[in-house]
């Protein structure tokens, strides 16, 4: 038995569970809001083409439209100005092996419950590593905040001075990218950066540092509370869009039974 047949057996026996980390593509799901004079992120939309009727007697189908960055989605390096010249930086160019790999989950849910602007810092990462070991190279790191359980206006949490939601500090992202060599970083919020991320130096540090270094982002994830701190496998292939800067996608995790 090779590793793959072992895994297949474990999957069929239910020893490995498949966890869906994806929100449903829904017209009313929040998207990031930019100042109105900027171009905006298109909401998910669906128009019926036929439904077993005079428009097509035996079939039902829809035309759908959205942004590359609508719903649970993947950010490619070319999404950010810092990553514009990264080799293979668009979703259609990224090597397929990047889309499946090990994942570490840093639980910030307690802190985020206390503080809407909760920050993931190097200290929190150090603490996590003291318990779970050093974050291995080329892994996905997900920041669990349980933010995905918020509904309505609480999700973007928009105030007069913009959105308030948790995210990483520039130092934390630098540590993950430059010292741990992670493959990508994912969050439950609408972006990989904190709601107030524009006020860091550099602004939007997760986007800036991750993509400038050819790393990937995942956002609007859900169900991170079902993942163990280590030992799960993330599957996240985006659509193969020519020169795409990102893509809505289905994100799955393989989790050893009873591990979460």
């Amino acid at each position: 038995m090779n590793a793959l047949t072992q895994m297949a057996t474990a999957l069929t026996r239910g020893e490995i569970e498949v966890v869906d980390l994806t929100h449903t593509l829904d017209p009313d799901f929040p998207v990031i809001i930019l100042p109105p004079e900027f171009g905006q992120c298109a909401r998910f939309r669906m128009e019926e083409v036929s439904a077993y009727d005079h428009r097509g007697p035996a079939w039902k189908w829809h035309n759908i439209s959205m942004s590359e960055h609508t719903g649970t989605h993947f950010d490619a390096p070319v999404h950010w100005v810092s990553g514009r010249n990264v080799a293979n930086g668009a979703v259609d160019e990224i090597p397929a092996e990047a889309f499946i790999g090990p994942v570490c989950v840093i639980d910030c849910s307690e802190g985020a419950a206390q503080d809407d602007d909760f920050e993931l810092t190097p200290e929190i990462i150090a603490e996590w590593e003291a318990t779970n070991g050093r974050i291995p190279e080329n892994t996905w790191v997900l920041m669990r905040t349980d933010w995905s359980k918020r509904r309505g206006a609480d999700y973007l949490n928009m105030r007069e001075d913009g959105p308030h939601s948790p995210g990483p500090t520039p130092e934390a992202i630098r540590l993950l990218v430059e010292e741990r060599g992670i493959r990508g970083f994912g969050t439950e919020t609408v972006g990989t950066d904190a709601g107030q991320g524009m006020h860091y130096a550099p602004p939007y540090p997760a986007h800036y540092i991750l993509h400038g270094n050819g790393r990937y982002g995942l956002q609007c994830l859900t169900g991170l509370d079902q993942l163990p701190a280590t030992g799960a496998m993330l599957i996240c292939p985006p659509l193969k869009i020519r020169n795409g800067t990102g893509s809505p996608l289905r994100v799955l995790a393989l989790v050893p039974k009873g591990a979460s």
Partner: protein, 416 residues
């Protein structure tokens, strides 16, 4: 005085829906001038260019001199009610249902004697004023009303039938996020609307108008996003059977013409809201309203679109937005024809620049929300098809009538 109109009772669910029937709608081409005038709420008659005779009914030649140049001109509407009668039955289904129906003859100071509909408060032998109104078939007719206002004058059944008065009617305002939404809702409630439903999209995104709307008695906030077909269909399923007046105030706009932008993203948003949004609304709410055109005191009466006057002539400073307004205006013409069999009117409120963020660098005069709200209510009471709200809209419409090409060139501004 007129008896005040009682609040309609709740509908009897065991009764068959009253099917809309229309008054006779055939008119000669000459008589259409009356319809065109009524669509704008203007009292116009044919004036002979040759001899000055004012004549009625409209004809192809002057009754005095056989002159062929007959101009539709605003005319003094005052006259004397010299005869009246009450129709108790009619071979026409519409008037049979409306009976008893008062009509009479008015001798106008301007000359002609006119057989017309007569308000219940008009006294035979006294002075009256003629109004040009659209009947349920969308054709111009004349009604005599007392020269001085009488109590509950608007509640007269003949006058009410020739308008779309918000009193006791249920209204849907489609976009609560528009800065003018609270003023509009308030004006309709003040005008006696029974309920004002206000649509709101993207409730996950706060907006300042919400707190004002929430506080109003009679306002019901309902989820509605004109760009999302499923949301429009869902709301129509919920309240489609009790929307008597639909006011589409949704608007997406960004400054700039064709070359300013370099992409189609905002243009697409403009079409999604301003044009396709109207179409989605019409497909979801139109059939129900058309079927309810004869549904008692609070029958479906009117569909209102609030558009920019630049729908008729493009100002390139907002060129892309204005193109979406032209598209919406054209679609509204189609909708008007399609709703006509139900007796439901389609009205456009044409606005000049509004006093909001998107016209901030345009010099005054600019429209305040209260002015638009007053225009909507007045337009509904008068049952017109076109309302020109504010001086800019009136000025553009007048210049457009004189010469559309000159107006186009003037709006384009100076070169260099």
């Amino acid at each position: 005085m007129t008896d005040p109109l009682a609040r309609p009772p709740k509908k009897n669910p065991q009764k068959v829906q009253t099917v809309p029937v229309l008054p006779p709608s055939f008119r000669s081409r000459a008589a259409m001038g009356l319809t065109a005038a009524a669509a704008e709420g203007r009292f116009k008659l044919q004036h002979c260019a040759e001899c000055g005779t004012v004549q009625y009914p409209p004809r192809d030649a002057c009754v005095s001199c056989l002159g062929l140049e007959l101009l539709w001109k605003d005319t003094d509407p005052v006259g004397e009610l010299i005869a009246d009668t009450i129709v108790h039955t009619s071979p026409n289904l519409y008037f049979r249902r409306q009976a008893p129906w008062r009509c009479g003859t008015v001798r106008l100071s301007a000359g002609p004697s006119i057989f017309c509909h007569v308000h219940g408060d008009c006294v035979k032998g006294s002075e009256v004023r003629l109004l040009s109104r659209l009947d349920r078939a969308g054709q111009g007719v004349l009604i005599a009303i007392p020269k001085e206002t009488t109590p509950n004058m608007a509640d007269d059944p003949e006058l009410r039938e020739l308008g779309a008065d918000p009193k006791h009617r249920r209204v849907l305002i489609t976009d609560g996020r528009q800065p003018g939404a609270p003023a509009l809702a308030k004006a309709l409630l003040d005008a006696g609307a029974m309920t004002v439903f206000v649509g709101e999209g993207e409730t996950w995104r706060p907006y300042p108008e919400r707190s004002a709307l929430e506080k109003m008695d009679g306002v019901n906030l309902m989820p509605l996003d004109l760009t999302d077909t499923s949301s429009v269909v869902e709301l129509a399923g919920e309240i489609g059977g009790k929307v008597d007046i639909l006011i589409n105030n949704a608007r997406f706009m960004r400054p700039g013409g064709v070359l300013a932008r370099g992409d189609t993203a905002f243009a697409r948003d403009e079409m999604e809201v301003n044009y396709l949004g109207l179409m989605r609304l019409a497909q979801a709410f139109g059939p129900g309203m058309k079927a309810r055109g004869a549904d008692g005191i609070n029958n479906a009466a009117a569909w209102v679109n609030i558009l920019s006057i630049n729908a008729i002539a493009n100002d390139p400073a907002y060129g892309s937005f204005n193109a979406s307004q032209a598209a919406a205006l054209s679609l509204a013409q189609s909708l008007r024809a399609e709703l006509r069999p139900g007796g439901v009117k389609v009205m456009t409120v044409f606005c000049g620049p509004t006093d909001d963020d998107w016209y901030q660098d345009v010099p005054p005069p600019k429209l305040l929300p209260g002015a638009i709200a007053r225009s909507v209510v007045q337009g509904l009471r008068d049952g017109v098809e076109d309302v020109l709200c504010g001086d800019v809209a009136k000025d553009y419409a007048e210049r457009w009538r004189q010469d559309p090409r000159v107006l186009e060139r003037e709006l384009a501004g100076d070169v260099g």
